[in-house]
């Protein structure tokens, strides 16, 4: 049956910023020198929006994404600078999560800064809101954010699942941890008189999943309801899996990750990420290995989550047609830098950066005659100790001498549209001239 699809978020009102990346630099130590994998990346993500991050393989998309959860291995990784500010949300007091004017109908508000009680101080960058620098927070704080406030769906699902636990218990863990109130509700357990703090058990560092279930069920009034609760969670897990259109969810729940195909593991991971209610969902090519039919379903699920919680989504993909379809804004990344960022419609109608233009022209289409696709020759360079230069020089059809000697910076070319290229802004003095679009060979 054709059903509700994943259409874009139509509202354009400037929703509050939930995360802000500023001059992020992540490098890697290698035998040949320092690889500048991410080299000065800045962007904001707003509540409820989908920001697409596109670019060729190796340009730094996954490293950027993993930095949000501090999952870049160090060493060889090096934090070379910059920050990722994240503002966790809490339930709106005024409406108790139902949605009201003061919370933009989202039912959620930013938490107040504890250091200045909302007046604004250096810790919260004068915002008065609780602001965490994800590059700096303690390990225990990071663990409590992971999978709760920030969820991630990985490109390679193999490594993200615990090989020693059944699929059912991995997903059940999420429900016990993050949605205990709903679990008790579904199990028809009367929670009045129970200390809510004990219900909202959080994972302790290095604690195994099954212990959470055990701890939860140890609370006296709940122990007697053990069967009811496990049955309720099993139902929720089965529903979460069924939503991803996996066949026979109840059978899958008893299996271990290695017994599933890649596509099935990907769906399990998506079910897990969607089971919690994150403020920010980072999706790193979640559907690249899946069929278009399954992809459409997964996108719809992500969209539903977004509607439900105003979750912001950072969607990484190299499928431009897909990104155009589902993203509100798009950032184009090349060799560790953002070279163009704009509203999605704008960037596809009027791409400015030669790299963005190149990517779009390379897409196969029915109208383009065979053998005449505009390929971008060469590949993304791996930047070992780079000197100042436009990273796209060497592959750029518009390149002039200046491009190989100076760094272009992201600058505005119009409403919310920024480009890093000397075609659009003046090179520094003493350079050898300025590139133009006309130089484009084809």
């Amino acid at each position: 049956m054709m059903s509700e699809g994943a259409e874009k978020n139509p509202s354009k009102s400037p929703a509050p910023v939930v995360a802000s990346v500023a001059d992020l630099q992540v490098h890697f130590q290698s035998k040949r020198g320092i690889v500048h994998a991410v080299d000065g990346v800045s962007f904001d993500i707003h509540d409820g929006e989908t920001l697409g991050l596109v670019g060729e393989t190796g340009c730094g998309k996954s490293v950027t994404a993993r930095s949000f959860l501090r999952l870049v291995p160090k060493p060889p990784g090096i934090d070379a600078g910059g920050s990722i500010l994240f503002r966790p949300r809490t339930t709106c007091d005024a409406c108790e999560g139902r949605g009201c004017e003061s919370c933009h109908q989202t039912g959620r508000v930013s938490a107040g800064c504890s250091a200045c009680s909302g007046k604004g101080c250096s810790e919260c960058v004068q915002s008065g809101e609780e602001t965490l620098d994800l590059m700096q927070v303690s390990n225990s704080r990071m663990r409590s954010l992971r999978g709760d406030r920030i969820a991630m769906i990985f490109q390679d699902p193999g490594k993200a699942l615990n090989p020693a636990l059944t699929i059912g218990s991995q997903i059940a863990e999420v429900f016990y941890q993050h949605r205990s109130a709903e679990v008790l509700d579904a199990a028809n357990v009367d929670v009045s008189g129970i200390d809510p703090g004990s219900l909202l058990l959080k994972r302790q560092a290095a604690q195994q999943s099954r212990t959470i279930e055990r701890t939860l069920l140890k609370i006296p009034p709940l122990r007697s309801r053990r069967n009811q609760i496990t049955a309720a969670v099993d139902d929720m897990v089965a529903d979460a899996l069924a939503e991803t259109q996996i066949a026979n969810p109840r059978k899958i729940m008893q299996r271990y990750p290695h017994e599933l195909s890649g596509g099935m593991r990907q769906r399990v991971m998506i079910a897990q990420a969607l089971a919690c209610n994150p403020d920010l969902l980072i999706a790193d090519e979640p559907t690249t290995a899946l069929d278009v039919t399954v992809q459409a379903r997964i996108l719809e699920l992500i969209h539903e989550l977004q509607q439900r919680r105003q979750t912001a989504v950072l969607y990484i993909s190299h499928d431009l047609s897909l990104v155009r379809r589902i993203c509100d804004r798009v950032a184009v990344m090349y060799a560790g830098r953002i070279v163009e960022i704009s509203d999605a419609d704008q960037i596809f109608q009027d791409p400015r950066h030669p790299y963005t233009r190149g990517l779009l022209a390379a897409l196969p289409s029915a109208t383009q005659s065979r053998g005449k696709l505009a390929a971008i020759e060469g590949t993304v360079p791996e930047l070992v100790d780079p000197t100042p230069s436009c990273r796209f020089s060497g592959r750029c059809p518009n390149e002039v001498e200046t491009c190989a000697r100076f760094d272009p910076h992201l600058q505005s070319v119009g409403d919310e549209h920024s480009v890093a290229c000397f075609i659009y802004h003046e090179p520094p003095e003493g350079s050898g001239g300025r590139p133009t679009l006309a130089a484009r060979s084809s």
Binding site: E56, D235, A362, P364, S365, A366
Partner: protein
């Protein structure tokens, strides 16, 4: 099924009367083995009766969701595996192909002595599964395969020089300095050069490795290359390079391609004709333009709708297709797509298994099931522990929990004691019919017929 509809004609390519390849009812079933004795308990029907042709110089695109049998079909065609039934013919004229079709359609025991001899002669000359050793080698040279994962298919411990030169060596085509010259020529054809001869696969990018695979496939001057997802692992920029290269090579060498992919924009760009597969069967085939502009089969339509395209209207929703591809070990009756088809009719082959498929997520419905007596795929008696359970299932079968067309196909759901007898209107497999010249589809909904 008429001969015409089984092998759609293509005006553009009709000029060449030689078929590089003709598949006749190709089947590949894998036994499912269980237990210590490895008893065969069933068959995965990965490819289940597929027929189509490829002409020289032509590109045929093969599309469908994962698990529908594309790779298995490619392996049968390349001779990497033997089909369970049916046959692959190579280098055959259309006239001979028609003869083969006619002869093979006669049941074995009804063929006359003369007909048997005629078929044997045609098989010996063209059927890749019955060629003698020498002819088989000849076929292997003429039909090469390029896989999706170039890294896995290139030996990591061999130098490029060995990888690309090996086929020439094995077939005694060249040796010594001539071998090196020929190898360099091949590398140059795919945009690499002599500087790459003495490197290992891991020293190349994904796109370069795919070029090496292509160079190796070209070494013996084949007439047909099977491309199994050749660009799925590549960036659009590099994909564009490879697609341009493939086209150029095709023009220069009059190569035919069987282009397997799940990326519809790639196949639209590259293929002259498209074959759409679902659960081991062809559901639609025709000229690329016809398939994209006038898709006939609901499955093709669903695939097209779900594939994002740069010309899409971004405000519309991406339509989704419910459910998953059913287990190919137990394909649905009638039209195999009926479990997911958004426009399924009562005549589409509803069967007893659909009762379980459709209701397995409903709690407790089958909890008290104690015995099943299957009379046919369309009729069975289900016995429960108690009468209430049997009644509950009967009530559900008459409710909105199952689709209206399935309910209409349900002839009987009668409870006697603890047993419910379920019987559906039997349905035949849906055959391919011609919708327009060279355009066939297998669906009971035929707009022309209404």
């Amino acid at each position: 099924m008429t001969m015409e509809s089984e092998h759609p004609q293509d005006d553009a390519a009709a000029a060449s009367d030689k078929l590089i390849l003709s598949l006749h009812g190709l089947k590949k079933h894998f036994p499912i083995k269980e237990g210590a004795l490895q008893r065969v308990v069933g068959q995965v029907r990965a490819v289940d009766g597929v027929s189509f042709d490829i002409r020289s110089g032509e590109t045929v695109g093969l599309v469908g969701e994962s698990g529908c049998g594309k790779t298995t079909l490619g392996r049968c065609v390349s001779g990497l595996t033997d089909p369970s039934d049916g046959a692959v013919y190579f280098n055959i004229t259309e006239g001979d192909r028609d003869r083969v079709d006619a002869l093979r359609d006669i049941p074995d025991e009804q063929r006359s002595e003369q007909e048997r001899e005629e078929l044997a002669a045609l098989d010996e000359a063209h059927c890749i599964n019955q060629l003698n050793e020498q002819a088989r080698r000849h076929y292997r040279r003429n039909c090469q395969v390029v896989f999706q994962d170039a890294f896995a298919s290139l030996n990591p411990r061999h130098l490029v020089n060995d990888i690309v030169g090996r086929p020439l060596q094995v077939y005694g085509e060249a040796s010594g300095s001539e071998l090196t010259t020929r190898t360099v020529q091949l590398l140059e054809q795919v945009g690499l050069g002599s500087q790459h001869l003495y490197r290992y696969p891991h020293q190349f990018s994904g796109g370069q490795r795919q070029r090496i695979s292509i160079a190796r496939a070209l070494a013996l001057n084949p007439e047909l290359i099977i491309l199994d997802e050749p660009t799925s692992a590549l960036d659009v920029s590099v994909q564009a390079q490879i697609l341009n290269l493939l086209h150029e090579l095709q023009r220069e060498r009059n190569l035919a391609y069987l282009f397997i992919t799940h990326d519809l924009s790639v196949v639209r760009h590259m293929a002259d004709r498209i074959v759409v597969m679902y659960l081991g069967k062809v559901v639609e085939a025709g000229r690329t333009q016809d398939i994209f502009e006038r898709p006939q089969h609901p499955y093709t339509k669903a695939l097209l709708a779900a594939s994002p395209d740069l010309s899409d209207d971004t405000d519309t929703e991406i339509p989704t297709l419910e459910g998953t591809v059913p287990d190919p070990a137990h394909p649905p009756q009638g039209c195999r797509f009926h479990t997911r088809c958004p426009v399924a009719t009562p005549a589409c082959g509803w069967d007893v298994d659909d009762v379980v498929r459709g209701l397995e997520n409903q709690e407790n419905l089958f909890d008290g099931l104690s015995a099943v007596n299957r009379v046919s795929p369309f009729e069975a008696q289900l016995t429960f522990d108690n009468e209430a359970s049997a009644r509950a299932l009967a009530d559900t079968l008459h409710s909105n929990a199952i689709s209206a067309s399935m309910r209409e196909a349900l002839e009987e759901a009668v409870v006697r004691d603890r047993t419910i007898n379920i019987r559906f209107n039997p349905a035949e497999e849906v055959e391919l019919t011609e919708r327009a010249p060279g355009h066939i589809a297998a669906c009971v909904l035929d707009p022309a017929a209404r």
